[in-house]
Amino acid sequence: MSLDPIRICICGSVDDGKSTLVGRILVETKNIFSDHDTKLKNLSKRYGTTGSSIDYALAMDGLQAEREQGITIDVAHKYINYNKRRITFCDSPGHKQYTKNVVTAASECHAAVVLLDATKGVLEQTKRHIAILDFVGIKNIVFAVNKMDCVHYKQQVFQTIQKELSSLIAKKNITSVSYVPVSALKGDNVTSSSSKMKWYKQKHLLHLLSTMKLGKDNNKFPYIALQHVHRPNRTIRHYMGMAKGQWSANDKIIALPSGQTTSIKTTYSGFVKNKKTSSCIISFETKDEIDLVRGDVVVTKQGLVQTGNAFHASVCVVSQDNLYMGRTYLMRLGNKETNININKIKNKLDLITNSKVACNELTINDLGEIEFNTNEVVAFTPFDQDKRLGSFILIDKENNNTVAAGTINFALRKSESIFAETLIIDKKQKANLVKQT
């Protein structure tokens, strides 16, 4: 049987029932082994919050500290096969303190489930999580309104929350949204349709997740992002990287940012030599010696992949260290590492008003926009064109901590940066602007 892999981030505020939900899915799809089940029953007796019945949440909270405190601290990864899909659940913590772990979970996922407590409705954390999902480029979200059993399965409660959510996401880039009322505890609409909410006409949550259409990666532009130059001896260099598109020997290539050209002499993908390959994992030799190092990008023609040294970007701060204007950080953009200097902190997202406000520094959990210069010219694409070439992290050079995650919006040129300040440019215009230059 061929399975399609999909990774789903589960987020929501503390106690909204994330762990209970995923735990139940694991148990009901028989993805929990019976010895783990016995462990679960023992743990339920010791730490459980659900009386004499099994506390499904304990299947997820794998760390001792998590069970003792009854909270989720870090991402748990769980795997199920369902309906021709390999679904990986990345259960993320609800506490604001551990938001960096939500960003970690979300940034590697294709889609997300945002959980809400029907008795509490939309919270600040809900807004934060939606903003984070939008920031990392997730376009598919299922909102699961949980604990419907506590509100007598009333349609009105669900509708009120749905309405508030839909206005919240109106301005975001999220393209596919569904809403489902559930009770993770009682099992309504989780892995089977609920008889208590006849008014809900859609499918249950797991069905939605297993049939959800993922946006196609619309970037067909071939490139190789160089990861490593291997030198088994003095004469041979094997260039290794992550490829997009098809590659074969004799392809003419341009190395970015240097702009030098040559052609491919030999390709290897796995143990196979010189066969046209669409494998993502490629290794090749070039005909001429050119300047090509880790972090460079190889293309066959000018176009999508650009070069630049000044950028406008969105960031999310994930460490206790603030992000300051004028400070130097080490940046990893794609596979390239270089120093950057933050010229401007433009704004941060105010979650209450859902608007951008001016500020001078960004602190932990803040989402905002910055402008920076890089020490060297680098190859990149805007994030919305290619995630791999348009995302970066910032590293504190003193303590090696990862300070922020970022996505490139567009490159700044002198004339453009004036534009960016005086006009409010929406994403489409931004993309056009970049193309024009």
């Binding site: 794998g62 870090d74 290897y268 994992i281 596979n335 995302s391």
Partner: protein
């Protein structure tokens, strides 16, 4: 056999992680436990650098209590793929006759301490391991690139965020990085991959008539005459196989007739027991694996 889309995705992810971290390492090493996960990891490393040989040594911690077949398999594989194989044993532990029957601290001394000693002696900075997140609860929480402190300890409450798959390999001199390229593989994926790539594994994984003894409801293989039989225990010859491989007195087998990989996959689905249920090391306390990892174990 055609490789599935899921396996292609997992393979690409793993090879990418291996190359990425290798490029940023000074003195890398790959843990080699001789088990199926290590065999997969080794295969991926060979594929990642082909046509060059694997550019780092393999490290095996020999407790002196491994199955005999494991050790001969290790020697064969090392020769076959021209690998640099480092084997390390806690010699003072052996001299004191620390053994799995009499000493509750056996794993700490013969495995964890030995591992730490080998890593310290060689100053390895990037250490590849074949651990998977589906194996055990605390493993499901660990990062792909896991920062370990000077004493190799793991702080699960304070893990470095991993964003967009852009790993941060920067660390202080005292720290080291454990890198887990097959984090997101399940046991079933491992078997399917072994099948489609025709990866060689130790024969102990396949069912065969072996000398066994029943203890605490589990079946153990009597691999040599160091296994002291207790009153009433008898050696019975019957068909068993192993789902994980470790020290033979601590690794329970499964009564089985599965002689091929498809049969193993089918049987595992029916059993509904986790692969580590045969590993005694996980059972002492609810959080024993986590406690061991915090001390520096894999």
């Amino acid at each position: 056999m055609k490789i599935s889309k899921l396996l292609i995705t997992l393979e690409e992810e793993a090879i990418s992680i291996i190359r990425d971290s290798f490029s940023k390492s000074l003195n890398p090493v790959m843990m080699y436990s001789i088990g199926k996960d290590s065999s997969v990891l080794l295969h991926l490393a060979r594929k990642a650098f082909y046509p060059s040989p694997v550019p780092f040594p393999l490290l095996h911690i020999d407790t002196m209590w491994k199955f005999k077949e494991m050790i001969s398999f290790k020697e064969k594989i090392a020769k076959q793929h021209q690998l640099k194989m480092i084997t390390h044993t806690n010699i003072p532990g052996v001299k004191k006759n620390i053994n799995p029957f009499d000493h509750s601290t056996y794993t700490d001394i013969m495995k964890t301490d030995a591992l730490k000693e080998a890593l310290d002696n060689n100053h390895f900075d990037v250490i590849y391991g074949g651990a998977r997140r589906d194996e055990e609860a605390s493993r499901s929480k660990e990062r792909v690139v896991s920062v370990r402190e000077s004493n190799h300890s793991w702080d699960p409450k304070n893990q470095r965020p991993e964003l967009f798959g852009l790993y941060n390999y920067h660390k202080s001199k005292e720290q080291s990085l454990r890198v887990f390229p097959i984090s997101n593989w399940t046991e079933e994926d491992v078997w399917n991959y072994i099948l489609s790539e025709k990866i060689e594994i130790v024969d102990l994984y396949f069912s065969k008539v072996r000398p066994t003894v029943q203890r605490d409801g589990a079946w153990f293989m009597v691999d040599d005459d160091r296994f002291p039989l207790q009153k009433g225990e008898k050696i019975i010859r019957q068909s068993i196989r192993f789902r994980t491989l470790g020290c033979y007195p601590l690794t329970a087998g499964t009564l089985s007739t599965a002689k091929t990989i498809p049969q193993i996959i089918l049987e595992n689905k029916k059993f509904n027991y986790s692969e580590r249920s045969g590993r005694l090391i996980d059972h002492d306390k609810p959080d024993s694996m986590e406690a061991k990892k915090k001390m520096g174990y894999f």
